[in-house]
């Protein structure tokens, strides 16, 4: 009973958190909490097979599928707080509370016999008992579910498949397209080339010593201080700057020889 109360509180809290959490990923994780709690409750109720299936299939496969799709659709999707349908929230609350109240009232008023317990049914073990039922009494339903699963798999494949409507472009067409677009046709220079050091924020220098802005991440370029970082380039003229550079190199060599 202790387990029940703990798990009940946890699962209801997690469920409420799930529906009120704005970020979808948090909702999914809270749903995982609910499912794991339910798995524990199944185990408590003499249903070890279902408990494991719950953990493996639901929490392990289905929820992971959810997370996967969330990743594809965009993790950042956040529900806006503004409800567009007038009265939807109030009526949803009324309906939800009313429905819960009705069910609780109904269950509370029902008279239950004492638990029969599953000791007898699980005599051979829970899995054996279930297997006997599934492969005898419910074998037809079981076969039908297999058909359902195959259909679902096929359906998912058909839905997710994207038909190619135009032929695939070959190398030549791709390169023509690249030049037509007017953008830089080849690879961009990487940062730090010919520069004093090759940090990501250090723009490359072109053979004439000028700064290649495109070698940097646009975000860094937008800060507008790329040229300042080449303070050592700021000489009177190009020769002077090179001479300065040579001097600096010689000085470094001398220090190394000491």
């Amino acid at each position: 009973m202790v387990a029940f109360w703990i798990l009940a509180v946890v699962s209801v809290a997690a469920a409420l958190g799930m529906i009120f959490q704005r970020k979808a990923v948090y909702s999914a994780l809270l749903l995982a909490v609910v499912m794991l709690s339910l798995a524990a409750l199944y185990a408590v109720q003499d249903a070890p097979f279902l408990a494991l299936v719950q953990v493996i299939v639901y929490t392990g496969a289905v929820l992971m599928l959810f997370l996967f799709v969330l990743m594809l659709v965009g993790v950042a999707t956040v529900d806006s707080l503004v409800e567009t349908l007038s009265g939807q929230r109030i009526w949803a609350a009324v309906a939800g509370l009313g429905f819960a109240g009705l069910l609780v009232f109904g269950i509370g008023n029902a008279v239950f016999a004492a638990d029969a317990g599953l000791a007898a049914a699980n005599g051979e073990g829970n899995v054996m008992g279930l297997a006997r039922l599934i492969f005898n009494k419910y074998v037809f339903a079981f076969e039908v579910t297999s058909a359902l699963l195959i259909t679902a798999a096929l359906g998912a494949m058909v839905l997710a498949h994207k038909e190619r409507v135009s032929p695939k472009a070959n190398q030549r067409q791709l390169s023509e397209q690249r030049f037509k677009s007017g953008e830089h046709p080849g690879n961009l220079p990487s940062s730090g080339t010919y520069a004093r050091h090759n940090a990501v924020d250090m723009p490359a220098l072109l053979p004439d010593g000028s700064v290649a802005e495109r070698s940097l991440n646009p975000v860094l370029t937008a800060r507008g201080d790329t040229v300042d970082r080449h303070a050592d380039l700021a000489g009177e003229s190009q020769t002077e700057a090179i001479a300065g550079d040579v001097e600096a190199v010689e000085k470094t060599v001398e220090e190394a020889q000491k």
């Binding site: 029940f4 965009g74 029969a116």
Partner: protein, 97 residues
């Protein structure tokens, strides 16, 4: 034994309210899953109450069907998202007066 059933009812109602108030199709789907899990809890409880395993078998079948449903449902959501760049159920409201 009615505790389990009441817990099941509460979870079911919470799931239903979630379906009604959330707009993200994936979250709505998760709420549906919550409702299915709530019914599974009730089935398992009834199984224990009646002393046979039929309830557990039904719960098992529910899980299978739910898995199939999730696969197809998520595929549909993906297709919709691909064409409309949105996963809000309110955006798919062209079929009206």
């Amino acid at each position: 034994m009615s505790h389990y059933l009441i817990l099941s009812a509460l979870l079911f109602s919470i799931g239903a309210v979630g379906v009604l108030i959330r707009r993200n199709a994936i979250v709505v789907f998760m709420c549906v899953e919550l409702m299915l899990n709530a019914t599974n809890l009730a089935f398992v409880s009834f199984s224990k109450m009646h002393g046979n395993l039929d309830g557990q078998v039904i719960a098992f079948f529910v899980m299978v069907v739910a898995a199939a449903e999730v696969v197809v449902g998520l595929a549909i959501i993906m297709t919709i998202f691909r064409s409309r760049r949105s996963s809000s159920v309110d955006d798919a409201s062209l079929l009206k007066y």
